[in-house]
């Protein structure tokens, strides 16, 4: 089956949303959790304390909001495209996460790690040349 241009367009649009809001959500969660500090959940009281601090952090809620947008786009695209296409294609988000972590959180990213991110993106390009759907809809 030859996929239509429309199918490609809406697939790329939703993957674009995933690539922006997934990393943004992770960076916001990272920022929020860094402000909370290393969590310890050895006892129920500690677990409740961590949960309270997580649920009262506005940064974490912004991160959750971004991830909900990511999740919505992910759900929609999975209604027509193969999982094994969407998952690698959305891995551009990993490069975006490294960029956002470097520029927004000022994390040190080593040259080898940048190389790894580049190779991940190369893998994405290879996957991008395969059709979004290889099975007939049921």
């Amino acid at each position: 089956m030859k996929p239509s241009a429309g199918l490609h367009f809406k697939t790329y649009l939703l993957i674009f949303l995933m690539v922006i809001f997934g990393p943004l959500g992770n960076v916001l969660l990272g920022k929020g959790m860094r402000s909370i500090g290393a969590v310890s959940i050895g006892t129920p009281a500690e677990a409740l304390n961590v949960l309270f601090r997580v649920l009262t952090s506005s940064t974490i809620w912004l991160g959750i909001g971004s991830l909900i947008i990511f999740f919505g786009a992910n759900m929609l695209v999975l209604s027509w495209a193969d999982y094994s296409y969407v998952q690698p294609a959305s891995s551009v988000a990993y490069g975006m996460s490294a960029l956002m972590a470097h520029f927004l959180l000022r994390e040190a990213v080593t040259p080898m790690r940048w190389m790894g991110v580049l190779i991940i993106c190369l893998g994405v390009l290879v996957v991008g040349y395969t059709p979004p759907r290889t099975t007939e809809p049921s």
């Binding site: 992910n74 929609l76 990993y94 996460s97 893998g123 290879v126 099975t135």
Partner: protein
Amino acid sequence: MLIFILYFLIICAGTGGELCVSRAMKAVGEVKDFRPAALVGVVARALRVSWMWAGLTLMATAFFSLLAVLSRQNVSLVVPVTALSYGAGALGGKFFLGEQVTPRRWAGVLLVCVGVALVIVGRR
């Protein structure tokens, strides 16, 4: 040791959750109407599929594991490492969802895994 368990949960529960959600969304059918009311209907239909609930439970497990790891390690390490789920995802797509994973797609997944390995090695 705790950090490895948390990474394991992020990768396995996350991948398992996405596979379940994917299976549920295939059961719901292709979304062609993007108006808000229609999208609410899609969500309502999806929530009636048991695979969706299994997927949401697994993804919630992965989410809280991710929060715990992010409290200890940098985003620029944690997020790329979670890409190890790609191998598991392609296998799951093939064997759990019956998708035809082409050799080229396998090659892409392999490159992604090599990239992840470099990210891990290049942590210092």
